[in-house]
Symmetry: C2
């Protein structure tokens, strides 16, 4: 899932891309944002992601220090995820990607006017 050749590169930029350069991670980070959120909520909000993949991505994000995982020893289990300082520091970058896209994306006729979740 993470490409070792990227993560072990001696170019720090390449390593950064190795960490966050896939399609799910920016989406997940963006969904979490500044709040604390449970596994099931992320799963419900992010379209098309399977629990298996979500688990994997969350685990990697935690390993890479982008988010913190807080498991309450209850039954049924409850787990909350929130961004670490490093993860929070990444949010402005996602904002600038949004602005960039807004400015330069070729206009297309949207099927619905529903711009939900990532507003």
């Amino acid at each position: 899932m993470r490409d070792d050749r990227f993560c072990n590169s001696n170019c720090p930029f390449t390593r950064a891309i190795g960490t966050i350069g896939n399609k799910w991670k920016p989406i997940i980070i963006n969904v979490i944002g500044t709040r604390s959120i449970r596994f099931g909520q992320i799963d419900a909000i992010v379209p098309h992601i399977s629990r298996k993949v979500l688990t994997e991505q969350l685990k990697e994000l935690e390993e890479d220090g982008l988010l913190e995982r807080l498991a309450y020893k209850e039954i049924p289990p409850r787990v909350e995820y929130k961004l670490s300082e490093k993860g929070l520091a990444f949010l402005p970058i996602l904002e600038s990607i949004k602005e960039w896209n807004l400015k330069y994306e070729v206009a297309l006729i949207p099927k619905e006017t529903d711009y939900s979740y990532a507003g």
Copy 2:
């Protein structure tokens, strides 16, 4: 290569990630930077990329309006790539990713002090 579910999302952020959210594209955009560069040069500079994949990525970047391809009708052929306005506008985002990584990456002992290519 591009995920249709992402590119056809009605969330503009998701679409943006569908466009540039993979490991090769940020690297390629970063390597091109503000210069005009030939196919062979990119291939030589970017580590581990195969010509096949490079071709595919460049084609998609062109389709998405991030770069311009200028083919000289010579023999042997010469093709130059350079970023479009949209592509150039993405460079500052890559810079902020570099800064973010520099600030937050967990320190690791580099095998070599060679930080070539993406400095």
